[in-house]
């Protein structure tokens, strides 16, 4: 690509006043907004805005498996397709899915599968389609979070929700939820996800260099951040039912009936 403006990385990732470039403190998350039921055709769907990330997820299933040979006689299968639009990144992405998208799809599928009861759905498939339409660091975490929400919206039986967030190291300091610039110019990145039915980590990747103490602190920071994101996730899900309740009341019905 020949572009007239280059994607520059700043030398410093902290401002004079000790805040990060976008004004956050070290352990602040970016603004997160979630909404369920945004895609009418899907069995379940959700949308997330996480900082500048904007991501749609839709769920179809249980349904017939295509191609048929992938079906398993003793359980259902979960397939995840994480994709990015060509315009979601600074340099236009090629339209065909690349290696990165395929790997992340697999990581997310593996992360979500523990909360599902696939053994109840032999011979069928659940498919989750994730479309990142605007990307700014941490898309795999936001995608995992929104995918779990779409599953819940689809009414798929789940042991619990799954929530994901990253912690990282920039300019030698440990911070929560790296933005795009921080991810590219920083020193370390640790995306994690938690399955809440057993409080265990279901997604765990790490890139960079940290010592033992820092790694321990990372895990503590991650747990704190995951709890906050989980709350936003729950609120989005409850809001849908609250809305239905309000609509019934407006029409003069009794929601308890």
């Amino acid at each position: 690509m020949t572009l007239l403006i280059q994607d520059k990385y700043p030398e410093k990732l902290f401002r004079e006043d000790g805040k990060r470039l976008d004004g956050r403190d070290k352990d602040d998350l970016r603004n997160i907004k979630m909404e369920v039921g945004v895609i009418k055709n899907a069995d379940g769907s959700a949308y997330i805005e996480w900082g500048n990330n904007k991501i749609f997820a839709s769920v179809y299933g249980p349904r017939e498996v295509h191609p048929h040979h992938l079906a398993k006689p003793d359980k259902g299968i979960l397939r995840v397709f994480y994709r990015m639009t060509t315009y979601s990144v600074f340099d236009r992405k090629r339209p065909a899915p690349g290696r990165r998208e395929k790997e992340i799809s697999m990581i997310i599928a593996d992360c979500l599968e523990p909360v599902l009861f696939l053994e109840l759905y032999p011979g069928t498939s659940f498919e989750i389609f994730i479309e990142v339409v605007d990307a700014d660091g941490g898309t795999r975490c936001a995608s995992t979070t929104v995918a779990a929400l779409a599953l819940a919206d689809a009414g798929v039986p789940m042991r619990s929700l799954v929530t994901s967030c990253a912690v990282g190291k920039i300019d030698g300091q440990l911070v929560t939820d790296l933005s795009g610039i921080e991810d590219k110019a920083g020193e370390a990145d640790l995306p994690v996800a938690m399955t809440w039915f057993n409080d265990e980590l279901s997604l765990l990747q790490f890139d960079g260099k940290v010592n033992k103490d820092e790694f321990n602190e990372f895990l503590e920071m991650a747990e704190e951040a995951l709890g906050q994101v989980y709350q936003i996730q729950l609120d989005a899900l409850k809001r849908k039912y609250q809305q239905i309740r309000d609509n019934v009341q407006e029409e003069g019905g009794d929601p308890e009936e």
Binding site: M1, K40, T85, Y87, E131, D134
Partner: protein, 275 residues
């Protein structure tokens, strides 16, 4: 509203058809009425232009990106504008993943042809240096929900994203293309607004803007892209046939409908602000 299936039952088809014969639509519209358009622009931070357009339940997110490349040898001072469409499997159980299929290619090409043959994209302004450097503008449409008539939604989406675009202006130097520090505004690279107008046909009933159940039971459709004074492309699609009288009538209607829509949507309001 009806479920989405590959095959529509005879009884549903009869219901839609009988209503049309009486001049009624299953969603309560008039025969020549569009569903509501909802347009938001500049929604994608990473893109040089973007539009999130809904037409009823159909929703298309379009983004504009650019690259600087060499011009085609036969048009040494013309920039290039390419239009792509993806029917995301996220958007409908009718869509499958994988490389672009006939449906998505048709969508991209019909929108593209409507724009290409109008005085729409100002390709001469998208030249930095003859024979050396021109802009390649990518307009990429992603269908987020399929509720029928993707072409008209896509056409408005492509125009809105271009109008809202803020592509950096380049100048030629010894070292190659360089940024002038300014941006193109939408009305510098776009002039005319060609509007694709799609009519469905179920037996002898003709109507504007098929919604999904109508599209699924119709034998075909015709898209007529028009500017203020000219027809810029026509696509007849599906297994149906049209009489010349029908085509004449629909092309006249297309001008009327497009004029109304241009006025109603007032797409120039989405013009990028100069920073």
């Amino acid at each position: 509203m009806m479920d989405i299936k590959r095959v529509i039952s005879t009884i549903e088809k009869e219901y839609i058809k009988n209503n049309l014969e009486k001049g009624n639509r299953i969603d309560g519209r008039d025969l020549w009425e569009y569903r509501e358009f909802d347009i938001k622009t500049d929604t994608i931070a990473a893109a040089e232009g973007s539009a999130d357009v809904s037409l009823g339940d159909t929703r298309i997110l379009t983004g504009v990106k650019y690259d600087i490349g060499e011009p085609y040898p036969d048009t040494p001072d013309d920039g290039v504008c390419t239009i792509m469409a993806e029917l995301l499997p996220l958007a409908s159980p009718l869509f499958e993943g994988g490389p672009p299929d006939q449906q998505s290619i048709e969508l991209a090409r019909v929108v593209d042809r409507g724009i290409r043959h109008a005085d729409c994209v100002q390709t001469k302004k998208l030249c930095i240096k003859e024979e050396k450097a021109v802009y390649i503008i990518f307009v990429d449409m992603y269908v987020i929900n399929h509720g029928g008539n993707m072409i008209d939604c896509g056409g408005i989406s492509a125009l809105s994203s271009l109008i809202s675009s803020h592509i950096p202006k380049g100048k030629w130097t010894e070292d190659g293309p360089e940024w002038t520090g300014e941006y193109f505004s939408g009305d510098e690279i776009i002039n005319e607004l060609p509007i694709p107008v799609t009519f469905g046909k179920i037996e002898d009933n003709l109507f504007l803007d098929p919604c999904l159940p109508e599209q699924l039971v119709s034998e075909g459709r015709i898209t007529i892209s028009v500017t203020k004074d000219n027809i810029t492309s026509i696509q007849k699609s599906g297994t149906t046939t049209f009489t010349t009288e029908q085509v004449r009538m629909l092309s006249n209607k297309a001008f009327e409908i497009a004029d109304d829509l241009r006025e109603k949507l007032d797409l120039w309001q989405y013009k990028s602000k100069q920073e």
